[in-house]
Chain length 210, copies 2
């Protein structure tokens, strides 16, 4: 894994969900306290509403997703069995930030990007590589606080050790696609996950892809 001091842009806008600026949690009742998800009934005071509002919220770990780009400009996609939707999907690598006590720490976030890249694709940043932050997104803001930090990993090379996914994961393969092929897969509904679509949207909007 590359050193955390490996060249990256100086910093990135981190997402913080906290009270303030008119937002306040008046009460919180936890209805499910589970290892992977917490469900809460929350009474919010909001800046715009006269009366408080009651809402059901699913809390999740923070996460990252990364678009790995080879020196020739092609992107790496992984093929992964996704149990909740009973499909194997082609997607950009992604993973959760397990160190929940330091989930807003810059080096923890960047470290997770490097780890997922290595474990899921068997690639790492080249010496002249760069990790470019592309902001973040909320996966389903109507009920969940889950958000995902997005990155472009420019100039990745094989580690030689291959992918080494977690035991619970089922990664079936990895392939390189050109920007045109990626667009074609997205246009034709063959790439269907929020992480990859959000990364593609930011890459397009920033002119980093045709």
């Amino acid at each position: 894994m590359p050193d955390q001091a490996h060249p990256t842009t100086a910093d990135f806008e981190r997402c913080r969900i906290e009270d303030g600026q008119g937002w306040e949690k008046l009460s919180v009742e936890r209805v499910l306290d589970h290892r992977y998800i917490q469900i809460e009934e929350v009474r919010y005071r909001t800046p715009a509403r006269k009366d408080p509002v009651d809402w059901t919220v699913a809390r999740r770990k923070y996460a990252i997703a990364v678009a790995p780009m080879l020196p020739d400009g092609r992107f790496l996609l992984i093929h992964q069995e996704r149990y909740p939707v009973q499909r194997a999907l082609w997607e950009f690598p992604a993973g959760q930030i397990d160190d929940v006590d330091n989930k807003e720490d810059r080096n923890i976030i960047l470290g997770t990007v490097h780890s997922e890249l290595d474990e899921e694709t068997g690639h790492q940043l080249a010496d002249d590589g760069e990790l470019i932050p592309l902001g973040y997104f909320f996966s389903s803001q109507g009920y969940s606080d889950e958000h995902v930090y997005l990155f472009l990993a420019k100039n990745v090379i094989a580690t030689g050790k291959g992918p080494r996914p977690d035991a619970g994961e089922s990664i079936l393969g990895c392939r390189a696609v050109s920007a045109n092929e990626l667009s074609d897969e997205i246009a034709n509904n063959r790439i269907v996950d929020a992480n990859t679509l959000a990364l593609y949207a930011r890459l397009c909007a920033r002119g980093l892809i045709n």
Copy 2:
């Protein structure tokens, strides 16, 4: 609201999550049965794994999201307080398909698109308007089966009745942005929800936006 027979492309690829092709749910234990979310511990047999795998899954209603385009080519965004993330976000209109018994019915899905467009923006398809399906996406396939059908509503006009959101919703405004302004908002991390980013990705990939 326009008649459901209003001009639309003939059909669209619907998402179905079901057993078959090597997928099987060997056991399901429901650990939370809530009005808005169901949490299950599922033992899956998958096509690629030798042994079954246990996974925690959050089940949610199906949903839609729609990019409303005015006759001059600008897009409508709404500004909505999103309680779980304690922010007001600018996003394309979206909503859940409440008729869970008919959630795969074409007319129910399209009807939800027309309703959300009307209720959240106060707009409807013009006589020469068209509802163009842009596939679907999974919001967080690592833990949830939630998926969202995507549409471009081309040529929308004001109903004259204004937005009429649900009582629990907090919609603060609606504005029209050019394709360039939309790209700029996305590039600069000012649009941060999966629905809007996924719609933008499909619009870009299909060449429906510059």
